[in-house]
């Protein structure tokens, strides 16, 4: 790897901030310290909350009890399942369209150049700003939310896939040509595997955006779902329920991201092994 490509690769890596935090090896001492800070923070909260007696700051135990009652009950099916279902639909549409179109756009240079200004602009538009348009055109049903999520998550996936396909190392393409691969074969056997890490990065960003969009679209126009639930809880001063909802969102976000990272390490293990060796 030349100096420049390495620097660009390093920069790409730094750009991809949805990854796990760099961990310089775990030690027992370190783990004990991590856990004890969390415990300490929770204990401090409990203590302060009990002292304050404020409606706004319920104690940790109170939140935990409410959390248990709310989410280990049919409420989970009524509020969380619809959110997850909409998100899954929107995200899958965005993922499928984004990767397919992205690889094609990136592979054919003139298409990339043609679409570049439009893509740059659409990517710069905050995806939540189109929710009012969605409501206007499609009402406040499931379809609106699914399409809004698909639209928002589509751009990062598309652009990352296109970048990945566009920046395939020259020598790999040349090798493919020497071996007489047709264009379709080159696309399938060289371009897509080379672009996979970048595609994965786009998919991860898309996931984070889909998560934001489901919450916001439910806050603005919905009659159920997690976003609706926590905003409604705040408006009706059901404060422990509101905190419980935020905690559930945190847990779901954590699980989804972990699941993604796990899947990625399965699919892309070969790639990271390779880059580690060249380093």
């Amino acid at each position: 790897m030349s100096m420049t490509t390495r620097a660009i690769a390093a920069r790409r890596q730094a750009l991809d901030t949805t990854r796990t935090i760099p961990d310089g090896g775990r030690t027992l001492q370190g783990t004990i310290l991590s856990v004890s800070t969390v415990v300490l923070a929770l204990a401090l909260w409990e203590l302060v909350a009990r002292q304050m007696h404020s409606v706004y700051v319920p104690s940790v135990t109170q939140i935990a009890v409410t959390f248990y009652h709310e989410w280990f009950s049919p409420t989970f099916k009524e509020q969380a399942v619809p959110s997850l279902w909409r998100m899954a639909c929107g995200y899958l549409i965005a993922g499928f369209c984004g990767v397919t179109l992205g690889v094609i756009i990136g592979y054919f240079r003139f298409m990339f150049r043609l679409l570049d200004p439009v893509l740059q602009y659409l990517r710069a538009t905050p995806p939540t700003a189109i929710i009012p348009v969605g409501i206007l055109l499609l009402g406040i049903g499931d379809l609106m939310k699914i399409l809004v999520i698909a639209f928002g998550a589509f751009w990062p996936i598309l652009i990352n896939s296109a970048d990945g396909a566009r920046l395939v190392p020259r020598e790999r393409l040349d090798t493919a040509r020497i071996f007489g691969l047709t264009q379709m074969e080159t696309l399938r056997r060289v371009v897509i595997p080379s672009a996979l890490p970048q595609i994965a990065a786009g998919l991860r960003t898309g996931l984070a955006i889909a998560f934001i969009l489901i919450v916001v679209s439910e806050m603005i126009g919905s009659t159920n779902g997690l976003g609706y639930y926590i905003l409604q809880a705040q408006r009706t001063f059901a404060i422990p329920e509101m905190y419980g909802g935020v905690v559930l969102l945190a847990i779901l976000g954590f699980l989804l991201n972990s699941l993604f990272v796990f899947g990625e390490s399965k699919v892309l293990g070969w790639h990271y092994g390779q880059t580690a060796r060249t380093r």
Partner: protein, 259 residues
């Protein structure tokens, strides 16, 4: 030089964009679309009008103010914590788990919480923006600090530069590339979150204006404001890209295309 710049203009790309707008115009005028989608000429006229008579332009100020305060606060806090976490192992261990748990919380989930404590004003928005912009900056600062050449720190130590001075003179400049990349990611996220909080629960700003126009069924200004958010995002992105290149001018990657 000027000639070279002229040659860099993406003529087919821009023509394609203009072509799309014209096609849209024809489709809307011919009535192929629903009445909920006005033709682009009407939208652009509304945008121009709103910018001149101050109806839209007065909202830009409120949006940008919350945006820059939130982003600035997040930058200071994240860089400080990132450098400390990256340099001192115990600090890293102490905060690691909290960071891992807090980071995946979608920032918008914090909106109700922020409303509870700070009301509907600009303070609430700044708090949510700061929260959202904090995480990417923290992570990329950490990467930046971790990527420092150990030799640089050893050399500094040989010259008697240690402690806070080493942080300031070796760690911070070395981590600057990482910090700047994180800053650009955060800058994008911050704009999304600014518009979102205004949309959900604001009392001023472009997002607030969009939701008001939607409720008043005044569609051209609503679309105009949405287009404006895109223009704003595009401009901010371009400005920060240039800033990035000027600040960390020494990296070869500074010549990289806008990511």
């Amino acid at each position: 030089m000027a000639r070279q710049k002229l040659l860099q203009i993406n003529v087919p790309g821009i023509s394609f964009a203009i072509g799309c707008i014209i096609l849209f115009e024809i489709a809307a005028r011919a009535g192929w679309l629903t009445s909920y989608v006005p033709p682009p000429s009407v939208i652009f006229a509304a945008l121009f009008q709103g910018l001149i008579d101050g109806e839209i332009s007065s909202q830009i100020g409120a949006t940008l103010q919350a945006y820059f305060i939130g982003l600035g606060l997040a930058t200071c806090l994240a860089v400080l914590l990132g450098i400390l976490m990256g340099t001192y192992r115990p600090v890293f261990d102490a905060f690691k788990m909290i960071v891992e748990f807090m980071r995946p919380v979608p920032s918008v989930a914090m909106i109700p919480l922020a409303i509870l404590f700070l009301g509907l004003g600009a303070q609430m928005r700044v708090a949510v923006i700061t929260y959202a912009a904090f995480w990417p900056l923290l992570i990329s600062t950490l990467y930046g600090v971790r990527g420092i050449d150990p030799l640089a720190l050893d050399v500094a130590r040989n010259f008697g530069i240690q402690g806070a001075e080493a942080l300031w003179r070796v760690t911070l400049p070395s981590a600057l590339t990482g910090i700047m990349t994180g800053f650009r990611v955060s800058a994008t996220i911050a704009l999304v979150v600014t518009v979102t909080t205004e949309l959900v629960a604001g009392n001023s700003g472009i997002g607030f204006y969009i939701s008001q126009m939607e409720q008043a069924n005044r569609l051209p200004p609503m679309y105009a404001a949405i287009i404006l958010t895109g223009i704003l995002g595009f401009l901010l992105n371009a400005i920060f890209f240039q800033l990035d290149r000027r600040i960390v001018f020494w990296t070869p990657a500074a010549q990289d295309k806008p990511a």
